[in-house]
Amino acid sequence: MARDLSPAVSPPRAAQARGGGRVTDGPAPPPRRPGRRARGWLYVLPAVAVYLGFAIWPALNTLRLSLLTWDGILPAEWAGLSNYVKIFRDSQLYEAILHSLALIIFFSVIPIGVGLLMTALLMGKVRRGMTFFRIVFFLPQVLPLVAVGITWRWLYSESGVVNQFLDLVGLGSITRAWLGDYGLALVALGLIGTWVMSGLCMMLFLAGAQKIDPSLYEAARLDGAGAFRQFRHVTVPGVRREITVAGVITTISALASFDLVFVTTNGGPAGQTNVPGLLVYRLAFNEGDIGGASALAVVLTVIVVAVVSAVRYFTRDDES
């Protein structure tokens, strides 16, 4: 706060605030500073108002609705915690939560691994074509997930590219309609997430890796570390913060997934790819169970906050 300026011109703000009365129409600068922090609210107000009105207020209302039995039309009845009890008793709702936790492996864990691999390959002295690869790898991340889902639905279909490829390499015996397979649909769905998220992870890690002090690589090389060990002992620790960020972002997108599932499997076959987001939508807008949908949304939020906190806690713990 203006350390280099003369204190007579620019005294610390706290002193100004306390002696507010003394500051009258003196020589021009600094003009009416005690009011600044109050008038500053005018700047913050539009954002706060829209955010409170269209995000926080509805979120709190969802909490309230979760305690009601309501079909959206007739008068609501108090339901207490019964909507929550239902979530843990109804195997479909319960399994949806487990599915979304399983998706973390495909949306988060594997993409972080692939992202690290891409980073390792894109770093170093040989620079030709690296921008091209970076742009290509990140591309899936900018597409609407609906379009991604439709594309993959076709790739996974019985006569699709995936099976065509498997036939080509002599694995024709395992071909099937992947998204319709009872046991493998969730895995197939998850791999679409891997395809989308890997580029995001790579981009984060590349940015982090650029900040690593080159002398660390120099030192590692002098100690006789090869490319792999340099990566393992210099790059990976250097991007630990970015790994946390990637973990948080991708975990949220795994738990709150909706778009992809809606267009690829719509929960099928036999509920094997149900996720909370899909059931919240279905309960609220197809089945008219607003209370149940709201309770599931609240449970989902609690899980997101818990898992995100856990990811941050564990990665932070490693650092110290």
Binding site: V142, I150, W195, A297
Partner: protein, 271 residues
């Protein structure tokens, strides 16, 4: 050493192929005549561009595109302006309660849309804002606000204090400091935020699906989501519709790819 480099390029090319094959697939599929049966990747006998025209017409894309553009054109400047003002208030003016407010916005980054959308629908229905562009625009602005405020606040707090202080000594008021001193050096940050907001607005699905019952007011991705249900088996038609929806965002991505990168690497989340 030479061997290492070729292995590296080999793996990179392999990964790039895995990313690009789906695109090649839908482009080839879209060039088949509508209704054709496709077996995986196959080159059409005759390239038929009319599939795009048909998809455009059947998918009601004139209206969908108009809605998408309309919503994005209002959301982006509105949300960027509000985020910029708030970031300025929190980082430079340090309004009363700025720590609590910043924390509140950051917490908002973890709120999944599912916990907002159910009650939002009923709240907006009460005030007649469902099926309305205004409702979706304000809701999107609210959804994007946590990241925008965080982004602009971080940017402004990295501006040297002396710059702001000097302007104040010259007698500049708050608004003048923002407009004349901070904004001119903040265009990269503002551009990046605008690009990300455009992408999120364009790709937003669940919110629009819930808020817009009127098929003419849906956005391109939400219209596409329902188009799928009607034409499940007509792969060329679906592929063409997909390409229509992704074309604008791919163009924006290629033009602004640096801004995408800097935005995402600072911790953006996909809205």
């Amino acid at each position: 050493m030479r061997g290492g480099v070729s292995v590296r390029y080999g793996v990179l090319v392999l990964l790039a192929v895995m990313v690009l094959v789906p695109f090649a697939g839908i482009v080839l599929a879209a060039l088949h005549p509508s209704g054709a049966q496709l077996d995986g990747l196959s080159i059409p006998d005759r390239w038929s561009w009319e599939t795009f025209a048909l998809a455009w017409e059947r998918g009601n894309f004139t209206n969908l595109m108009r809605s998408s553009v309309l919503i994005a054109v209002f959301v982006v400047p509105l949300a960027v302006a509000m985020a910029t003002l708030a970031g300025y208030g929190l980082a430079i003016l340090k309004v009363w309660g700025h720590r609590t407010l910043s924390f509140g916005f950051v917490m908002g980054l973890t709120l999944p849309i599912e916990v907002i959308v159910v009650a939002l629908y009923f709240n907006l229905r009460e005030v007649g804002l469902t099926n309305s562009y205004l409702g979706v625009i304000l809701a999107e602005a609210a959804l994007f606000m946590p990241f925008g405020v965080y982004w602009m606040q971080t940017h402004f707090s990295n501006v040297p204090d002396e710059l702001v202080e000097a302007a104040r000594i010259d007698g500049a008021r708050d608004l003048v400091v923002l407009v004349r001193v901070l904004l001119p050096i903040s265009w990269p940050a503002v551009t990046t935020l605008s690009v990300l907001y455009f992408m999120w607005s364009w790709n937003q699905f669940m919110l629009v699906l819930v808020m817009m019952q009127d098929p003419d007011r849906r956005t391109a991705p939400s219209g596409l989501g329902l188009f799928v249900g009607q034409y499940t088996t007509d792969i060329p038609l679906l592929a063409a519709a997909c390409l229509i929806v992704i074309a604008p965002i791919v163009v924006v991505y290629l033009v602004f790819q640096r801004s995408f990168v800097s935005g995402i690497t600072q911790g953006a989340i996909k809205g």
